[in-house]
């Protein structure tokens, strides 16, 4: 992958890491995503797309994991594009059936079953990796062409 981490000018923080164990932490994730996408210069609609996606991933950590997890947010750039990368990591119990999890209306928890499908639609890239020891890593990216 040829992404270069976006280098913000003095004092701009384009990376954040938020521990998510309770629903109250979801708001922190949203705030961070909004701040970083603003600095990068994303248009308003893209900021909201990223914020909602981050919010869905963070809520999933609260509702579907045993011990919560972390959300990492990073501003990225590639030729002619600015991007935001949101990575969710948790240590179990994992997603049994990734294809099902991406179906509208399918949920094993209290939600609508529209979290991951929404992220898939709102973001440009979505990768879900469940390891043999039931850890889940979800990486999603949103790009905006700015040249």
């Amino acid at each position: 992958m040829s992404d270069i981490p976006a280098s913000g000018s003095s004092g701009e923080n384009l990376e954040a890491r938020v521990e998510v164990t309770r629903i109250a932490h979801v708001a922190n994730v949203q705030t961070k995503v909004r701040a970083i996408t603003r600095i990068l210069g994303f248009p308003e609609l893209y900021i909201f797309r990223a914020a909602i996606s981050a919010s869905e991933l963070a809520s999933n950590l609260v509702y579907h994991t045993t011990a919560g997890g972390t959300i990492r947010i990073r501003g990225i750039r590639k030729k002619g594009c600015i991007g935001i990368e949101i990575i969710s990591n948790d240590s179990g119990p994992g997603i049994k059936d990734v294809n099902m999890a991406l179906q509208d209306g399918y949920s094993t928890g209290p939600g609508l079953g529209s979290g991951l499908p929404a992220v898939e639609r709102l973001m440009d890239e979505l990768e879900i990796l469940v390891t043999d020891d039931f850890k889940t890593c979800i990486r999603s990216r949103l790009w905006y062409f700015c040249e």
């Binding site: 609609l45 939600g111 609508l112 929404a118 709102l122």
Partner: protein, 121 residues
């Protein structure tokens, strides 16, 4: 977090924001239901002017509240949706919101009064 429930004639008016957790949602819903019961109100307005991000959790809370209120015999109107919320809600897909809507509180009130008077859903 206490969400005020205002009574205006025979209508209940509530305004909700994004930063709601499970417990807040549950308390809000039971507050609305008990106020509906006590006041005998015939309609409920859920105002979301202050909500700038609607994720699937908030969509669920709104849908559930509206369904509960309907079961209690009230008509429900959702009003004040921000343009960005509408845009992203449609992009998120599926019928996330199954409630009657109006542009703002003014129009929402008119619509609800009409619904109550005509007895239509």
């Amino acid at each position: 977090m206490e969400i005020p429930i205002l009574k205006l004639k025979n209508i209940l008016l509530t305004s909700i924001q994004s930063d709601m957790n499970d417990d807040d949602a549950l308390k809000y819903q039971s507050d609305v239901m008990s106020t509906l019961e006590k006041s005998g109100a015939k309609g409920l307005i859920i105002d979301i002017t202050a909500m700038d991000i609607m994720d699937s959790f908030m969509a669920r809370v709104i849908n559930e509240t509206a369904r509960m209120a309907r079961l209690m015999g009230a008509r429900v109107v959702l009003c004040g949706m921000q343009p960005m919320v509408a845009l992203t809600l449609v992009e998120m897909g599926r019928e996330l919101i199954g409630v009657d809507t109006a542009l703002n509180l003014d129009k929402g009130f008119d619509k609800l009064v009409k619904m109550i008077n005509e007895g239509v859903d």
